[in-house]
Each structure stands twice: as C-alpha cells, then as structure tokens.
C-alpha cells in the first residue's frame, strides 16, 4: 500500500495533539493546574477523557490480535478491563476523590501517616507506569511499521517525543481535552472500518472458514485454562483501581458524587468500544490467519482493510486505523507520563527545583527510561504486556486502597509489608516474562498470570502485618475515615492533610 495516507494520518494526530496542548499552555498556570486541572472538569468531559486515556494500544490493537491467536478465552481481557471500573466505582471512586490527594503516594501518606509508606507507593507508581509505557511504545513502533515500513524504533520515538512536548507544555488540563477527543477518535477509527469490513465479508458470502476450530471457538481448552482465566480475572478486575494514570483522573472530579457518576459513563463508553475488537479478531480468523504463524497478530487491526478491501478505500481506512492507534498510544502514554512525573517531581526532584520545572524534568526522564526499556524488552504480545502491569497494580495498590478505605486496622507497617510481598512477587514474574522466560508446566502458567497467587498474598500480608502491630494504628485514622466517607454536602472536620502543604 502507499505509505502517504498512513504518514498523513500519524502527522495529523500528532500535530492535533500538540496544538491542543499548546492551547492548554495558555490556561494552565500553577502547579495545581498541572496536576489535576484544578478539578474543574465536568463529568461528561471527564468520562470521555478517562476512557480516552484508558483505551491503550492493548485495547486498540492487542485484544483483536489475541482473539485472532487464542480465541474465546481472551475475551476476558476487555471484560476484565471494563469490570475493573465497576469495582473501582463501588469501592474506591468516591472515597478516593474525597481524600483530596493528588496521587497514590498522597493517599498512602494521608491514610497511613508514614513517609516510608509514601516512598514505597511512589516507587510502585514509577514501576507500574514504566511497565505500562513499554507496550504503548512497542505498539507505536508496530503501527508505524505497518503503515510506512519504517523500523519499529521510529514510532516509539515519535510517540515519546509528542508526549513529552505535550506534557511539558500543558500539563493535565490540555491533556483532558485532548483525551476526551481521542476517545471519540478511537471509537470512530475502529467502528467505521468495521462497518466496511462486515459489508465486504457479507458480499463475499459470509465465509466462516477458520472459525470452527474447537480449541479456538470453545472456552477453556488449553492447559491450566481455568487457572489462567481466573488469574486474568483477578488481575484485571482489581488492577484497574491501582493504575496511577486512572487514579489521578479521579482527582479532577468536582466531588465524590461526580466521581461516581463519571465512572458510570466510563463503563458505558468502554462497553461500546469493546464490542469492536471481537469483530476484528473473528474477521482476522477468516482473512488473516497467516499472521498467527508469522507472530504478527498485533498488526491484525491495521492489516485487515488492506486484505479485505484493498485499493484506495483500504488505504484510507488503514490510515484512519493508524490515526486511532496513534491516538491510543498518545493518550495513554501522556496520562502515564503525567502521573509518574507528578509523583517523581513531588517526591524527589522538588527538593531542588520548583514545582512546574520539576514536573517537566520528570516527564522527560520518564519518557527516556521507557524508550530504553522498550528497546530491551522482548516481543511479548501488547495486550499481555499491559495485563502484566495490571497484575502488579492488582497485587499492590488494590489491597492498599481497599483495606485503607474500608478497614481502620490497616497500619503503615502492614501496608508496606503487603506492598513489598505483592509488588515483589508480581514484578519478578512480569520481568521474567518480559525478558522472554517461558518455562513449561505450572511455573510457566504462574509466571504468565501471577495475580491469582500474588493478590491474595498481598492482602493477607497487609492484614497480618497490621494485626501484629495494633498499637501502630495511625493517630488520625478517625479523621481520615470521616474525610474518605462523609459526603461533601456537610461541613465536618476532615483532618488537616493537604498535598500542597505536606509535613514530611
């Protein structure tokens, strides 16, 4: 195909993102603007922005590729990524907004009243953010290669560059607008080609060859399938609430009530989007099953229009898909870089630099680190790589948030022990898989989906560690509980913690 359309699409999305960022530059002035857009964003804009930020390379490209390769069991990925928002809604959304913390380390400090707990949480935000950035940059490389034939590092460098320029210039408010736009771009970019593809498929006489293989079409046919599926469910259902770039979004709601209402809209927007990758996966089985053998299933979405339709129509739809894919990389990477550099600048660099400059420097550092790690990591499927970041989040921040919000008994010591156990074990598994370890039998199953083991261990360690030192209960836990749970409509003493005036 001609690369001209593809290049035009990628340039258009990148330039638009930068322009929206430049507009944001004029309206974001203070550090608080940068971190949370001053919390003045309405629920519907915020819901689009949250969905836009959340739908990453894994959702746009990876899921369809996994469905093509492995069939019905991989439908649990999008189901879990959506259901994760339901659990986030019922356990975390309103209390987290009411905590008035900017970041997960802020929450850890507020609830546990412990500087070491804050530092551990900060390190985990950096770790999860980087693990999640790697598949985004990898997806960008694959996309640009599919569109133009460029080597894979080019796409990664472009995305990292645009994200840094955008983050450095505008902070979060510009990103909110850009990401709300990017949700709708991603939806249209996947929906419109799907309509044409289905029409062409129908025109071909609706062929179904390739769709009847029992270990593809029927659930739970592989080895350890039940364990792998439930481990995937645990990681995705609980991991969503622990992702730094998701959590930071909730601070931009007006109050706890708005946070809940936003989350319901997010569930609807995600559900609409996730109907589409299944279609691509199934059509891929009919038209592009050779991608499985060549190990390029992550490119399926981009290759289908060309194979099914061909001609200029196929080229244009491929360009549209490329634009959507780049929107996915840019929005998720921006969100990740903003949240990770927010944490880095607050906790490390702000000792030497003022807030906004520390934030900018951190953004550059995070993007560079992600580029290096992307070059070092092996060719893991994009959706699986993202899901491994969920496994780490589910093994660390999920128990911290759930126990911290709903159980007064959680102490700093218990929380740190749990974060260390859950984070340590899940990270070992994730890193082993990322560098290409693939042992046979149970060890392989445990490494590739560690959450079913590591999440209960993290919860157990936190509870046990807290029970052993009951005298270490945070002094202000009663105030904190009032702050987390009492509706804002009434004036109450909610303690003195404020992330801008930290005492440690």
């Amino acid at each position: 195909m001609s690369p001209a359309y593809g290049i035009a699409a990628v340039v258009l999305v990148s330039v638009t993102t930068l322009l929206v960022g430049a507009i944001g530059l004029r309206i974001s002035r203070t550090t608080s603007d940068f971190y949370v857009a001053s919390r003045a964003i309405g629920p519907s804009l915020n819901a689009s922005a949250i969905s836009g930020e959340y739908l990453s390379a894994a959702s746009f490209l990876g899921v369809a590729g996994l469905i093509l390769a492995r069939g019905v069991d991989t439908l649990w990925y999008p189901v879990g990524w959506t259901a994760g928002y339901l659990l986030l809604l019922v356990f975390v959304a309103a209390p987290l907004r009411r905590s008035r913390a900017y970041t997960l380390p802020d929450f850890a400090e507020l609830r546990l009243e412990s500087p070491p707990a804050r530092r551990v949480a900060g390190a985990l935000v950096g770790l999860i953010g980087l693990l999640y950035l790697i598949p985004q940059l990898r997806g960008a490389g694959l996309t640009l290669r599919a569109l133009t034939g460029a080597p894979t590092w080019v796409g990664a460098v472009i995305v990292a560059g645009v994200v840094v320029a955008n983050v450095v210039s505008g902070g979060m408010r510009s990103i909110t607008i850009a990401q709300a736009f990017q949700y709708w771009l991603k939806l249209v970019a996947l929906l419109l080609p799907a309509v044409f593809l289905l029409r062409a498929w129908h025109h071909d006489g609706a062929p179904t060859h390739g769709l009847h293989l029992s270990d593809w079409v029927e659930p739970l046919q592989g080895h350890y399938a039940l364990y792998l599926t439930y481990s995937l469910i645990v990681a995705t259902f609980l991991g969503t609430m622990g992702l730094p770039h998701v959590v930071v979004r909730f601070y931009t709601n007006r109050d706890g009530r708005a946070a809940r209402r936003t989350t319901v809209s997010v569930l609807a927007l995600l559900s609409a989007f996730y109907l589409l990758p299944t279609l691509y996966g199934a059509l891929g089985r009919v038209y592009a099953s050779d991608l499985i053998r060549s190990g390029r299933t992550d490119s399926l979405v981009l290759e289908l229009p060309h194979r099914v339709l061909g001609g200029t129509g196929g080229d244009l739809l491929t360009a549209l898909l490329g634009a959507g894919a780049f929107a996915a990389f840019l929005s998720t990477s921006s969100g990740l870089v903003v949240s990770v550099s927010g944490v880095l600048s607050q906790d490390l660099i702000s000792r030497w630099l003022d807030g906004v400059r520390a934030f900018r420097l951190s953004g550059v550092a995070v993007a560079l680190a992600a580029l290096v790690l992307t070059a070092l990591s092996s060719g893991l499927a994009v959706a699986h790589a993202v899901e491994l970041a969920f496994a780490v989040a589910a093994s660390t921040f999920s128990p911290l948030l759930l126990l911290g919000i709903w159980w007064r008994g959680l102490t700093a010591r218990g929380a740190i022990a749990g974060l260390a156990v859950g984070g340590g074990l899940s990270t070992v598994a994730v890193l082993a898989v990322m560098v290409g370890a693939n042992p046979s039998g149970w060890p392989g199953a445990l490494l590739s989906q560690p959450a079913l083991i590591t999440v209960p261990l993290a919860f157990g360690t936190m509870v046990l560690g807290s029970k052993l030192g009951r005298r270490d209960l945070p002094v202000h836990v009663a105030s904190t509980m009032v702050r987390l749970h009492a509706p804002e409509a009434i004036d109450l003493d909610r303690g003195t913690f404020h992330p801008d005036r930290r005492t440690v």
């Binding site: 189901v79 029927e218 659930p219 989350t263 319901v264 509980m481 009492a486 509706p487």
Partner: protein
Amino acid sequence: MTDEPPVVRVRVTGPRGGRPRPMSGASQIDARTDVGEIYMRALMRTQLRLALGVTAVVLATIGLLPVAFTLFGGLGRTTLLGIPLPWLLLGGGVYPVLIALAWVYVRRAERNEQAFLDLIRPK
C-alpha cells in the same frame, strides 16, 4: 440553632452535672465522641455492604462463567443466532450487566448518603 431557647448566663463553679446539651450528629462526629463514631461506622458499614453486594452479584454471574463452561462442556458448544454462546456472553452480553449494576449502585449509594446527612445534620 435558631429554634433553641434563649441562653441564660450562669456561673458554673463545680463540675458540670446532669445531662449534657444534646449535640447534633455532625458535632458528635467532629468531637470524635462514641456516638459520632457510631454514625461514621454505620455509614461505612452500609456503603461497604452495598459494595460487597454488587461484587457478589458480579461474581455469581460473570465470575462463575468459567466454572460453568468447565462443568457443562455443552454450554461452550451451544449457539444462539448462529453465534456460540460463550462468544455472545463475553463479547457483548456481560457489558449491559456491568452498566446496570453500576447504575443501581450509584442510586443506592447516594440514597445511603442522603440518609446519613438527614441523620447527622444539626436540627
């Protein structure tokens, strides 16, 4: 505060006896009294029970699908409108369930909070 009888100034010389002036729930919470604690714990318990209830529904429906597919192998081969049942459920059917549960949750959670506010607001 306006409906209270006018306060007459008296000099208190000894430890205050008798029944203390009734406090609103909000001031009980602010003063961290036992009653205030009970109000807060009651709110948390109601909201946690609601959250756990929603989670239980998710687990009993969506969460049991893998077990159901394992126990009843025929389920995985059943088709509806030409589409295999697991694909229909996981590819689309679960999403309306998730949205409906979220909607029910938000309504109930807000109702719980309103009840809490009615209880503790100064009369």
